[in-house]
Amino acid sequence: MCFKNLPIDFDGEGNARLREGVADPYAVTVAEPKGYVRPHDGPGAMLAPPRLREWSIDPVTRVAGALAVHTVLDLQKREAVEAHSQAMLFRGYEVILKGRDPRDAIDISSRACGVCGGVHSTVSSLAIEQAFGICPPPLGVLVRNLGEVGEMFYDHPLHLGLLAGPDYSTSIVSVTNPELVVKAESTSCGHADVHGFKTMKDLMDALNPLTGKIYLESLEYTRVGRIMCMQMYGKYPHPSTLVPGGVSTTISTSSFNEYYTQLGKIFDYCKVMAATWDDIAEFFLEANPAYEQVGARPTNLIQTGIWDDPEAYDATYANCNEWGDRRWALPGIILDGELRTTRLTDINMGIEEFVEHSYYDDWTTNGGPRFATDPLGNPISPYHAWNKETIPRPQGKNFKEKYSWDCAPRWDRQVMESGTYGRMWTTALAARTPDNPFLDATGDGLRITLPRHGLPEMELNWKIPNTLNALERNRGRAYAMAFTAAIGMNCILKAFEYWRRGETAVSTTYKVPKDERVAVGFWEAGRGYLTHHLHMDGGRIVNYQINTPSTWNASPRDPFGNPGPYEEAIVGTPILESVSDDDVKGIDVLRAIRSFDPCMPCTTHMDTGKGVIVREVNSCGCTLE
């Protein structure tokens, strides 16, 4: 059974329909938000109240003021007992895009993220070409794939080396857990033969900000990723060559040759980073098994899949389950560790967005939904993106009412996380990849073969973790680089085949339709799930809705009272610092948050109502409306 909470059944032919006899299938019964209740009763409660410390991280360092997290730490139990995740900025792309030529969405939505502008341009192209009824030639699909491989090599190194890495560096750990630094001095690295660091202390030194070898190399590898993007897109960031029906880049033999040269440089870095994060995870877990609970939450993941098979992709919604199933990284829903579906229509059907605790008005009170079904007749909710209206209204600013500019997306009314590791997880559980020499999905993990470069050819094995926690998110992201490099290898070899056969077209012609169309682009950002839902009529956008991985991950409580993924991951995180209460830095809470690679800083349109900008920043606003 695909859906547990929404009354959606499937007939014998697999067609979805609303269960008969349910009067209001999408009714919402609002519940009290779940959260920590300070004990006031019971023996001794008033005599010995818990040692609580409220801790507002505002802004969470390194995310440009767009994310604030309010937590309550119980210093007696040494764990975080409460959390609220707050997106602090309003973005408004959906409002900006109304009434525009749909092609504008490619360039404008690109600015939704300054880290990964290419993914927004791409998913926007996918939505528009679906609406226009066109499909890129095979090489156009591959060029898009290759550009996105490059973009991931901008994204992942910077997270692992510059954002998450320092949390495990000597400079931080020596303050929070000096005993671990002592232990690291006498602990040999299990993968010293790959990364070259003899002891864990050497490795942790290499994670130090600004001076560490890994930090500096990671910064340099973002350059390689950018060059790879430029080879395919002509320009990066914010490529202007992604168009409906392919790319407008002038591609030549040298484009592919130069891309391949850069990809070769990546292989060794992938091997080193996987080995590095294996050693980090194993060291911390061996030192204290409680690290397994840092950032832990149920394994509920939602992924939309990325990297199309040029022989399967036809851009239609009608066939999205077929071409989605041929993606290199599979779409999927994982609930409690079990793969529930890989069908994009199921994923799309189950999506709802709620604003009970967000600074928006509920659009469903303004009459019936625009659409009761998707274009194939599958039921969709009034809270679905195709029915959503963005109506900003900052009000009721407290945790019981509204506290975030992020809304609360849910699938089948369940709290879902998305991530780079998520697409590996779905692919591994589905145990299928196209026949290729570099990548194998084994059902319990991924086997990745990386060719020889400076280091010898190496087989890497990523195993599905027992627990979805901070260390495993980071380890997964490290292996994701190898996963991505393997896909890049496959795609470039396929691109050479098409090139040799003379099938060199990378785009197709089109006309902007004037009749009513609805469409959706399914793709993934560095952090996972990405959709753009489009409704157009008369050659103009009627409604455009962007939903990003951080929209899911940073979400506030939903109307059913359930906390969002950041909030879930923080509550129950143990405080493992070995210092006195007064010196607790909250590093484990920060590790929990940062393991999601929160990406929220945003352009823009932060207006207090009197035209006063509190702070101007530009660009990445993945989670923001």
Binding site: I96, C113, T222, R226, H238, D607
Partner: protein, 161 residues
């Protein structure tokens, strides 16, 4: 020589750097003068400077310092002494998250010594920081003066229309 604009798209005066480049990049400039939009993350600007190794850099942008009236132009030769490492790290971590910010760029690029000794910054104090296109009146009035200053910097005063 590189003239680089740093702006925040669609934020009226704050997009000054980008729009300055768009407006004047097709005007006559002396050979060897390159005008580029550098409105992207600080380390990417550093990588770009390391690629082209310009002998001189002129950075143009609008920065709200809130000490001068709107439209005020500030020109200064950049002191190449980098800020403290902690500040560089904080600014870089914001930059890698996609934040475009002139001060982030100045900090990160100085830390890795990627600016040439001859680096000048020309800032305009913005008036209108809201969403939209076009400059406010005080900033629009400053455009020609900024152009003169930039041409001065690159030795192109005689090319002024």
């Amino acid at each position: 020589m590189l003239v680089g604009g740093i702006g925040l798209p669609w934020l009226r005066d704050l997009d000054f750097g980008t729009q300055f480049i768009v407006r004047f990049q097709h005007e006559p400039w002396p050979a060897g003068v390159l005008l580029e939009d550098l409105s992207y993350a600080a380390h990417r600007v550093m990588h770009r400077l390391q690629e082209i190794e310009p002998a001189k850099v002129v950075l143009v942008g609008a920065m709200p310092r809130d000490v001068d009236p709107p439209g005020t132009i500030r020109r200064y030769t950049l002191d190449l002494t980098p800020p403290p490492p902690e500040e560089v790290h904080e600014r870089l971590t914001e930059a890698v998250g996609g934040i475009i910010d002139l001060d982030h760029t100045l900090a990160v690029v100085r830390h890795w010594h990627a600016f040439p000794a001859d680096t000048t910054v020309i800032e305009v104090e913005p008036a209108d920081r809201s969403f939209g296109l076009g400059f406010s009146d005080p900033v629009e009035r400053a455009v020609q003066q900024v152009l003169r200053l930039v041409r001065d910097e690159v030795g192109a005063t005689e090319l002024l229309a």
